[in-house]
Symmetry: D2
Subunit: 133 residues, 4 copies
């Protein structure tokens, strides 16, 4: 299992006329979480892209439990529970202090620059290894 | 069952460096679909809000089947299969001509201005009636 | 002079907690206006890109006169007053019926795929010709 | 004069198919800069709003000098040069290490909850005082 935590501050642009964060922004926050997780294990998303890999989102789900507000200090918890193969599932929780606001899941495929599904790069698999023993 | 169709043209702002539409934008498109569906039955979302109701998203899911590109002409198909009560489920499909790009589901609650779950307005239930006989 | 008009409906996602459209969205609307203007003269932005040209924004300005609201039906007026050379200036007005909400200007350079400033494609210059006699 | 600096990391969602940050996002970054500046002087934007004030954008301008890329670590420099009265002008620079990417200016009005232009709250004027002697 791999876990990462990232802090964000809610932007005014992310709110809507209901006075709370517009729901689609949580999916952008999930992306911030997974970018950070990949940074933490030492194989950044940028590095993956630069070596010819892409990780398109195949499926994304979120449950909105409580609203987030402008200027909230939030924490994105990101978790990979199962060792990634051709596909990778990532889970997310958005917290404001002791309150959970949102949970979510994204599923991704490793593809090459032509969009063909492929195995993740060997170095990536190696760097993931210690987390799933 | 209620169905609605809306046309959109993909904006440059909606693409990302992968050259395709960034996935969170589909959730914004779903919103366009449901706003149109409510317009079509004669009870616009704005009217709902102005009479003190909100329809926050409780849950949102999307499956991304094929990418959408800048300047694509897309059609959003929006469907309500079951008569809304305190909650409402809405389904979406995004099409580019004969090709389906994305499917999705959102679940909503009717709440009042204090955020308390409530029944939909009687006129709304009445206007929905003919579609579910 | 070239002029184009495009209709848009304000999206919920474009509003903020002040209850009006968040200002940065107007710049996205300007883009919709210029994409439509290029469509109208028969040389779409996609065609420009596919033949190796880019039109990055060098400068963008907007004056916000009156707010736009969710579900507003707006018209984007887009105008090119001077024949484009290596650079191109485009002007915008956003109207809700008889009320002007916003004016703006963007300046663009024609660049090639390496980002080097370049002259616009000859066919584009030719198609622009009749509008500036 | 008041100055503030804020760090941001470019989000994937902020890029477009040109492979760089889509220009309208800089205006959102400017907002992050001014929210931080107000935090730094001890009168947060949230506090302004909660005491019945709004700071709508009257005008916004940006010059785009060099592109920003996904995962770039950027610094937003925000400056107020003249003591705010009914209106306030704020200047911005976006830097990637020693490289300036963008400059911008926004002009704001203090308005009350009815949108009527008004003087800033006395406490705010007092907190601003020491910076403009």
């Amino acid at each position: 299992m791999i876990e990462a935590k990232t802090d964000i501050i809610v932007r005014y642009a992310e709110t809507d006329k209901m006075g709370v964060v517009y729901h689609s922004n949580y999916f952008t926050w999930f992306e911030i979480g997974r970018v950070r997780l990949l940074d933490d294990i030492g194989h950044s998303y940028l590095k993956l892209e630069n070596s010819g890999f892409r990780l398109p989102v195949l499926e994304a789900t979120a449950k909105f439990i409580r609203p987030a507000f402008f200027d909230d200090r939030l924490v994105i918890h990101t978790t990979i529970r199962e060792k990634p193969k051709v596909r990778m599932q990532i889970e997310y929780e958005i917290w404001r202090e002791e309150t959970i606001l949102c949970t979510g899941v994204t599923r991704h495929a490793f593809v090459n620059e032509q969009g063909i599904p492929t195995r993740p790069p060997p170095l990536f698999i190696e760097q993931m290894g210690p987390y799933f023993r």
